[in-house]
Amino acid sequence: MRAHWNRINDWLDHRTGVHTAVRKFLYEDIPASSGWHQVFGSVALFLFLVQSFSGALLAFNYAPTPGDAYNSLRYILTELTGGRLMRGLHHWGASLMITVVVLHMIQVFLFGAYKKPREATWMVGVVLLLLTLAYGLTGYLLPWDNRAYWGTVVATNIASQAPLLGPYLSRLLGGQGSIGVVTFARFFGLHVLLLPPATAFLIAVHVYLVRKHGVAPAPGDELVPKKKFYPEQVFKDTMAIFAAFAILFVMAVAARVPLEQLADPTDTSYVPRPEWYFLFLFQLLKLFTGPLEVVGSVVLPGLAVLALILVPFIDRGQMVRVTRRTFAFSFVALAAIGWTGLTAAAVITTPKEASQVAVDYSAPTDWMELSSEELAGVGHFRQENCVSCHAVGDTGSKIGPDLTRTTIHRNAAWMIQHFKSPAGIRPGSAMPPIQLSDLQLNSLAAFLLKLNPQNATALSDAPDFAVQGALVYQAHGCNACHKVNGVGVDVGPPLNGLAQRRSRSWVEDHFADPSKLSPGSIMPPFKFSKRDLDNLMAYLFVLP
């Protein structure tokens, strides 16, 4: 068997030279001082490959046009097995990749590995850092939710401020004044068509240059014999890659990446925030106001990038031991303090949006299609803890029947009788009577009659504010005059889409004195407790 295998290998090597090439690559000489501090480059390369892989898989189920982008991403998250994991890998992989690229750069900087003759390697590396950031910028728009949209509005506006080039950049990004299909197409094109081959090419150049000049030695390395790259250093790289992968995988599984509502260009209350690695730039901008704004948005970042590229020409001294590079260490420490300070300031000043309730659209939103009566029924269902005895699809206990089985659904009257006196209507039933008012039992029955295996997710996914809001809505008999999702009465206006028509403060004032804001309205004034009002408002404002 082994002889057979060797023959195939020899044949292949003779025709292609692949084994010789791999051997040459693995058995390269590296300085004796090489070790754990040089693993970051390999980890960054690995993460690039993971991003390419997860990105391609996402693209298999993704439609790159604004409306469809959002819907197809929701489809990936809510209907495809493993879809959430793929997006998690891609989302957190981006953050991790930026982190590792920066760590790689800090290591090279601290060790002075950019010095002659490795200046070109460093400069290509800086360009690779910029490309990594460009992925973050362009990829941010692709989910096309509110966060993506408004974050990109800010970013393209910053680009348009650049001296001289601004208008052209803005035109190139398709963002003249507003963001629409053109900007989206360009960002997508950059993200998946232009940046990946550019990155792959520059990585190849970068690795070629590393090989050409050899791994940077430390002073004193010339006195000791060299080591081989394989297997010791490869082992160290592999362990570091495994650690990074383990972190990434756990985050992709455990840290849910939310999807906000579909991008709404008319939403004036949205407070955009860029991704965490751009927060320092965002905060820097705030330090400059008026005509000086361009200093923070373009001039300073531009100078920083220029300085970074020119590092090998600024510091041209002899290679010294890393422990004696106090200036480099203080520089990195200062930069880290500055970055942390700006980022922390940005995080602290992020306003807590009281009126905005985040609905996670990366989970099914069947609950949004329920009428308020049915949604209030979800509230009673939770309160009465029906799942302690009943199965609902795959979840819950198996003592009572599975409530999603539509064959057990009869009519509301039967159900309500059954709720009041289970054993009376079904002799021998061990179910205790439910102590709720008739109105509440009606809600519960309405929900149960609607329940099926498809919309059972509403039970677990309906957010508490919506359920509580629906309970308030029912308790005050709003459905006697208004409609939600087509259920109710047409005396007053239907309440779906209220968020598009009215502001929160208008509706609050309207509750206090309807006839003042809508002359001729027959709606009576309502006074709610603060908590009830918050829940009701949040519920009404998420109605599609």
Partner: protein, 175 residues
């Protein structure tokens, strides 16, 4: 297994060197990473999506409009879930009403290669124009390359209205 291998003497095996440990760890970890990425990717690509809101019954017409004993082609629109979209599609069915008011509704495509067939009044059979497959009024294959009888819709009569459900290969007749 008949022969029981005796475990090697402790001294017989070469002591694992640092080098073999490195190589084993490299292969092991890369195998693990490949599996951790590859398996979820296969699941993601191969497991069908969780279907939502399907199999709805669609009204296609009044029972009184359907003649007895002569197939009629009836068209109707139905919503179909297509990935992340729900599309409204034009569909058709060949509907046959038997003398005792039993309804059979055939899918409009030949079971050979999916061509649209039609009812040949003169011959009293369904004829596919592509490769001359022939089907009886019960959907059975009478000739040509068709491998199985015509597919049938689930049918339901509500009052005076005919409703069609899913298109199915007749289970008792499928090969």
């Amino acid at each position: 297994m008949d022969s029981v291998e005796t475990p090697p003497e402790p001294g017989a095996m070469p002591p694992p060197t640092r080098r073999t440990f490195y190589v084993a760890a490299i292969y092991g970890i890369w195998g693990l990473i490949t599996a951790a990425l590859g398996l979820p990717a296969l699941i993601y690509l191969l497991v069908p999506p969780r279907m939502r809101r399907q199999n709805e019954w669609v009204e296609v017409g009044k029972m009184a409009q359907i003649p007895i004993g002569t197939p009629v082609e009836m068209t109707f629109r139905r919503m179909r879930v297509d990935g992340w979209k729900v599309v409204s599609e034009q569909n058709s069915a060949w509907v046959v009403k038997s003398p005792n008011n039993q309804i059979t509704a055939f899918g409009p495509q030949c079971t050979h290669l999916g061509c649209a067939y039609h009812w040949d009044e003169a011959k009293n059979e369904f004829v596919c124009p592509c490769h001359n497959s022939l089907f009886s009024i019960e959907g059975k294959v009478l000739g040509g390359p068709a491998p199985r009888p015509l597919d049938q819709y689930e049918t339901k009569v509500q009052g005076a209205t005919l409703l069609l459900g899913r298109l199915q290969t007749p289970p008792e007749q499928s090969a």
